[in-house]
């Protein structure tokens, strides 16, 4: 049986088109895979293991009696203050995310996106609610080296070593969205984060919170995240 010429030509053309489409699809898949890999947060969520293990004091909350108790843990801590702050807060949230936690909060260390440490201007009034919430873009975070802290862009001189610091803690949206709702549980989370920061970085006297880089009214419907917290409040809350 003879196949007509036009059918042979059509078959060849369709075969070539199929092969070409397969090649294009394969390339598109590779590109999409590469985009996914590029979009992942490659920042370390744990303190580097090469750092020397040091003792860190964590204020661990307990929902049953509303208390916060000091617990000393040995963990590798980087020298960089911002990374150090992130490491101790990450350890605290790992404890909260563990089964049987006294203050169960899902999320763990990956809930802390960044911690910025900023010198507090002399005119700052602690305890007052700022009308203009701070955002990550208000200041310029300078890479930290050997105990230096980020400075505002218009600062002329490096801050004094004793200058009190404002810590800006940037949390993930999933952490805030999945946080248990309640006045006590949200307050304990905020105060234990503030107290843990102060216990390990005594120069940190004020703390502000961002969620995904933006100001947010409350953590999970109760605790105010739009204000600046004093670490002395957290210390005073300890029994």
């Amino acid at each position: 049986m003879n196949i007509p010429r036009h059918q042979t030509v059509l078959f060849v053309l369709l075969l070539i088109a199929s092969i070409a489409m397969g090649v294009v699809l394969w390339q598109l898949r590779e590109r999409a895979h590469q985009r996914v890999l590029d979009g992942q947060d490659s920042a370390p969520t744990q303190a580097p293991a090469v750092a020397a293990a040091e003792e860190a004091t964590l204020l661990v909350a307990n929902d049953n009696d509303g208390s916060m108790l000091n617990q000393v843990h040995s963990l590798p801590l980087p020298q960089d203050p911002g990374a150090r702050a992130r490491a101790v807060l990450g350890k605290l949230l790992d404890i909260y995310a563990a089964p049987g936690a006294t203050h169960p909060v899902p999320g763990g260390a990956s809930a802390i996106l960044q911690v910025f440490l900023l010198p507090i201007p002399a005119t700052a009034q602690p305890g007052k609610t700022s009308e203009k919430p701070a955002t990550a873009t208000n200041t310029v975070a300078v890479p930290l080296t050997n105990g230096d802290t980020p400075v505002p862009a218009d600062a002329q001189a490096a801050p004094e070593p004793t200058t009190p610091l404002l810590a800006v803690v940037n949390l993930t949206g999933s952490f805030a969205n999945n946080h248990p709702s309640g006045l006590e549980t949200e307050t304990l989370t905020v105060l234990s984060l503030c107290g843990t920061l102060h216990a390990n970085l005594p120069r940190v006297t004020q703390v502000r919170f961002l969620v995904d880089g933006q100001s947010r009214a409350t953590l999970a419907g109760h605790a105010d995240l739009s204000r600046t917290y004093l670490t002395s409040d957290a210390v005073a809350s300890q029994p």
């Binding site: 929902d63 049953n64 009696d65 509303g66 169960p104 305890g127 007052k128 609610t129 248990p180 709702s181 309640g182 006045l183 006590e184 549980t185 307050t187 905020v190 009214a217 409350t218 999970a220 419907g221 109760h222 605790a223 105010d224 739009s226 204000r227 917290y229 409040d233 005073a236 809350s237």
Partner: protein, 255 residues
Amino acid sequence: MRIQSPEVSLLRATFESRLKNRPRRVLGCFTALVLATLAVTGSIAVAQAPPAPQAPQSRFTVVLDAAHGGDDTGGHFKNGQLEKSLTLAFTTKLRSLLAARGINVVTTRDSDATVDDNHRIEVANHAQALACLSLHAAESGSGVHLFASSLSPAPTAHLYPWKTAQAVWVTRSLALTGDLNSALQHASVAVTLGRTALPTLDSMACPAVAIEISPERIPESATIKSAVDDPGYQTRVAEAIAAALLVWRSEAHQP
């Protein structure tokens, strides 16, 4: 002096018609005069008397703020209940108890409606209440959590910053917290005290306390003894709060 009052004339005419002789008429006129004077002065006294002084209890106003509502559901409980429903039910129960004790109650919401925080604060601040209670419910923790504002005390001023008005009242709020704590402990309810940064609480210009009701748990095992929606538990807590407010009322009216 001739008395022209129609009441006096009527009385005198009545007595005159019944008296035949003059001495009796004189006596009758005198009696009528005395009676009329008593009647007239008595009626005037009643009309001009100032309204009975209101008992101090009737001026004692308490604001009950049932947290959340409408689109703002608050916390989600494992049994499917929502915080907004529990706070509204508890507010209704507490309002009845307080009204039965002669306390004037103002609520920020009476139904499942979305209420803006600023509206809640406006209601509370316009009520000029001697106690403002923000009512919450949670599944975590144990017993009742009492929170006063974490703002530092500030001196009295004519104008208060909206977001930190509670700073002027925080000392009295702590005193109110103490009364609530005593009453709840007397009712064998576990109490946790704390300070918090709650936007509605921080803006209230009255002695204000946030009350969060959590399940009652057995201390050793943390097993739930009474759930938040347990009617008996709710009544016990509400009665303790009402008792504390009666104590607070007596303290508030002391010179």
